[in-house]
């Protein structure tokens, strides 16, 4: 049943029954402000985990201090590894203040030396809240040099700041409430996804 009321309610993103119809109309009207698939899933400055040539992309908007992002991370990595055909893009979206920015910056800076996956794994394995020092300790524990990473960033701050700004603008455009939020294929998922949810989202993405 499509009514005016539903159309209005539809803006709040509900009502599956009329979903196909109610979203197309406003979508077309709002098309200009939205990021494209290329911008979101294929940002050239963000390294890809998993299989770079995979047929499905998972993008996770996350924060290194978000407890549920970290708790769910091993499951995500396992699914990506087991599937073997998934591009995983970790979209840094620091929402917990300065330490989160620092962690994101350090990890992204590590890609120059090819150590990005190591940095992500080390930071995702930390406990809850982090201080700047705890972040550096975790990185050192993984064989990385925080001072060198910081120096690399300071030389060209716009590079990583640009990534973070783009991620933030996209999260804003998607109206994500917080972290973790995911895009699997082109579907948007708010809140933590367990293994089962990931697997069925991947299956759906392959169905198109």
């Amino acid at each position: 049943m499509i009514t005016r009321r539903n159309l209005l309610a539809g803006s709040a993103a509900g009502i599956a029954a009329s979903a196909a119809a109610f979203t197309l109309l406003p979508a077309a009207l709002q098309a200009q402000g939205m990021p494209t698939v290329k911008e979101v899933l294929f940002d050239p400055e963000i390294p890809v985990l998993g299989n770079p040539k995979g047929d499905v992309t998972i993008a996770e908007f996350f924060d290194y201090q978000c407890p549920y992002c970290k708790k769910a991370h091993p499951d995500l990595m396992e699914v990506v590894k087991a599937d073997g055909n998934i591009r995983l893009v970790m979209k840094d979206w620091p929402i917990f203040g300065a330490p989160s920015f620092h962690a994101a910056t350090m990890a992204l800076a590590a890609q120059k030396s090819g150590a990005y996956p190591t940095a992500v794994a080390a930071l995702m394995a930390t406990d809850g809240r982090l201080s700047l020092e705890e972040i550096n300790t975790a990185l050192r524990g993984a064989g990385l040099d925080p001072t060198a990473l910081q120096a690399a960033h300071d030389k060209k701050p716009d590079w990583i700041n640009g990534i973070l700004r783009r991620n933030d603008a996209q999260a804003e455009a998607f109206r994500f409430g917080g972290t973790p939020s995911y895009i699997v294929g082109t579907r948007i998922y708010n809140g933590v996804m367990d293994k089962k949810a990931l697997l069925s989202a991947i299956a759906d993405a392959r169905k198109g």
Binding site: I2, T23, Q30, Y68, G128, R187
Partner: protein, 623 residues
């Protein structure tokens, strides 16, 4: 109407078709319907009040399963200026491996700003959905003069998105998954950690502590009138021994009797553990209570010498045959003990209700059997002491033995009244007590000449009994039904108990219904008490008749949302509710705070009285 919407549909479909072809060349982002985490303003509802001291108070109502961080609540002047000194109460320390230690608020949070000034204030806060999502910081601008709240940057109304939702496949939809969980595994209420009597005994001291505790409970129960029939039965058995009775023999026979009794209890415990079910439904049925009351009355009349009660001659003969008199009476003692449990067992189910419920919860046959065996032994210990000490004295049966029997007879009548009371019309109980007291007073007055030793004491007691019996009669006639305060109806303020309106319970019958009730109480910032009752629960009658209407109870429960789950007819929905709340059966009362979290230590199971109920309610309110 139909026509109207049909027209709209057609028009829309045309638009949609045109747009769809246009959109085919664009990428389409899809969004599952009913996205799982609540919109931030529903997760954390902010209200601003003027504080009594002229400052501002910011209050958040936090949805269940969500929390705010204390350290992320901040205030600044909205023009991007200086931080403002915000006072926040201490939160709950959340400390787990995924978290580290940080202070958070569940259910509600408050921050105060003592000198807000006139300029708009930017209030920032941040929280998470448990195991779901951590919200980004939210900022609201508050006008200290009008108390109006606006979102910074006008971001409240969501933008419509190009990235469109697809028709949702429920299996692929984490939102739906989580929604199911909300009604299933992770309901919108939180139970206290306290797992109950037996599990907590187990946790503290293992099986040993459970097994040590139950004989102790038994010993306490040994002083309730329910257990009294064991004494004349035992005395009768010992008296039959005649010349051969010695303290040693008294000890042996009574021990065997108690073993028989305890074995019967062990069977009951095994049944409770095996079925995992609430045996009360049988043991506590009005039917059973009625039969038992009658049985006690019959026993009493026998004590008064109206007739002699004993096992049929054939049984005693069969038992006496075989290896001789001695072995026969030993075997008889075991059988007597076992069958006594039929009387004692159901009679103590009211005080025992809690223990039986806990055993049913553990669903452990051996533990159940062992625990109730211990209970039986505990109940029998005073009897063994009595038989051993009395072994040398008892046989010289004479007039005094009759007196003892008759006193027991009054005890049995009292037990009969106590058992039947919940089933009787409200005023009748008091009349029966009055009759019993007057009867006892008369008996004692007549049978105990004042010249005999202790005569004055007995006379005094009998006159007091007569007097109180008279008072009870007056009270009963005036409509009182509390045997301890029969004249309260005449007291000033004309029955404080009846003037306050009776407590009103909202019915509930399913997890969903109860969750909705908790949610509405949350809206009104009220704690909730849920009471499980049933028609077949005799203990519940007593609670409903004399506990709930008591003025102090009404007082203690005022301010609570009261919910009643009647499980007289067990169905899938209320079974589910009981499982979710870890309730084994009625009577059970559980207290929840405003946030739907059970108050630890306030849960009441089994024998609930005014003291325990008011104490639990007070505990719940202190929170």
């Amino acid at each position: 109407m139909i026509r109207d919407s049909h027209t709209k549909n057609t028009a829309l479909r045309t638009i949609v078709r045109r747009l769809a072809s246009l959109l085919l060349c664009l990428f389409v982002w899809t969004l599952p319907a009913g996205a799982a985490p609540l919109p931030v303003d529903e997760a954390f509802t902010l209200q601003v009040h003027e504080a009594p001291d002229g400052g501002l108070a910011f209050q958040w109502k936090i949805a269940p399963g969500y929390y705010l961080y204390r350290e992320h609540i901040e205030a600044k002047t909205a023009d991007g200026g200086a931080p403002l000194p915000l006072e926040t109460g201490s939160g709950i320390a959340k400390d787990d491996p995924n978290f580290g230690t940080t202070e958070i608020y569940y259910a509600s949070a408050e921050a105060t700003l003592s000198a807000p000034g006139d300029a708009p204030i930017a209030l920032t806060y941040q929280g998470c959905q448990e195991d779901g999502i951590c919200y980004r910081p939210e900022t609201r601008v508050i006008d200290p003069l009008t108390l109006a709240v606006t979102a910074q940057g006008g971001l409240v109304a969501p933008k419509l998105s190009l990235w469109t939702p697809a028709p949702t496949d429920t299996t692929a939809d984490p939102a739906t998954d989580r929604a199911t969980e909300t009604t299933g595994a992770a309901p919108a209420f939180e139970l206290a950690e306290d797992p109950g009597l037996i599990p907590s005994l187990m946790a503290r001291g293992g099986v040993i502590l459970v097994l040590a505790a139950f004989p102790l409970f038994g010993l306490l129960l040994a002083f309730t009138p329910c257990v009294f029939p064991m004494y004349p039965i035992m005395a009768g058995a010992l008296a039959r021994e005649g010349e051969r009775l010695t303290p040693r023999r008294g000890f042996v026979l009574s021990s065997l009797y108690v073993l028989g009794l305890a074995s019967a209890f062990a069977l009951l415990g095994a049944a409770a553990g095996w079925s995992g079910q609430n045996l009360q439904m049988v043991l506590q049925s009005p039917w059973m209570a009625g039969v038992l009351a009658l049985l006690f009355a019959v026993l009493a009349l026998s004590m008064f010498g109206l007739y002699e009660l004993q096992l049929p001659a054939r049984w005693t003969n069969a038992l006496s045959r075989g290896t001789g008199q001695g072995a026969g009476s030993k075997r008889a003692a075991v059988v007597l003990g076992f069958s006594s449990a039929l009387i004692v067992g159901p009679c103590v189910t009211a005080p025992l209700a809690g223990a039986l419920l806990y055993i049913a919860q553990t669903a452990d046959v051996t533990l159940g059997a062992a625990a109730l065996f211990g209970l039986g032994i505990g109940k029998g210990i005073p009897l063994i002491v009595f038989s051993t000490l009395g072994g040398g004295v008892l046989p010289r049966a004479g007039a005094w033995m009759d007196t003892v029997k008759q006193v027991f007879g009054f005890g049995f009548l009292a037990t009969a009244i106590w058992m039947a009371a919940p089933l009787l019309p409200a005023g009748l109980e008091l009349f029966l007590w009055a009759a019993l007291l007057i009867g006892f007073g008369t008996y004692a007055f007549v049978h105990w000449p004042v010249e005999r030793s202790g005569g004055v004491v007995v006379r005094t007691a009998s006159l007091l009994a007569l007097l109180y019996g008279a008072v009870l009669t007056v009270g009963a006639a005036a409509g009182s039904n509390d045997p301890l305060k029969p004249l309260a109806v005449f007291a000033g303020g004309s029955a404080a108990g009846t003037s306050a309106p009776p407590l009103v319970f909202a019915p509930t019958g399913s997890t969903e219904a109860f969750q909705a009730q908790l949610a509405s109480a949350r809206g009104q910032d009220r704690p909730t008490m849920i009471y499980f009752t049933a028609d077949w629960c005799v203990t519940c009658y007593t609670i409903e008749r004399s506990v709930l209407p008591a003025p102090d109870v009404k007082q203690a429960l005022s301010g609570f949302q009261l919910v009643k789950a009647d499980v007289s007819d067990i169905d899938a929905a209320n079974t589910e509710l009981m499982a979710q709340l870890k309730v084994a059966g009625p009577p059970t009362m559980i207290f929840f705070d405003e946030g739907g979290k059970e108050i630890a230590g306030a849960r009441l199971v089994g024998d609930i009285n005014r003291q325990t109920l008011t104490a639990a309610a007070d505990l719940a309110k202190e929170r």
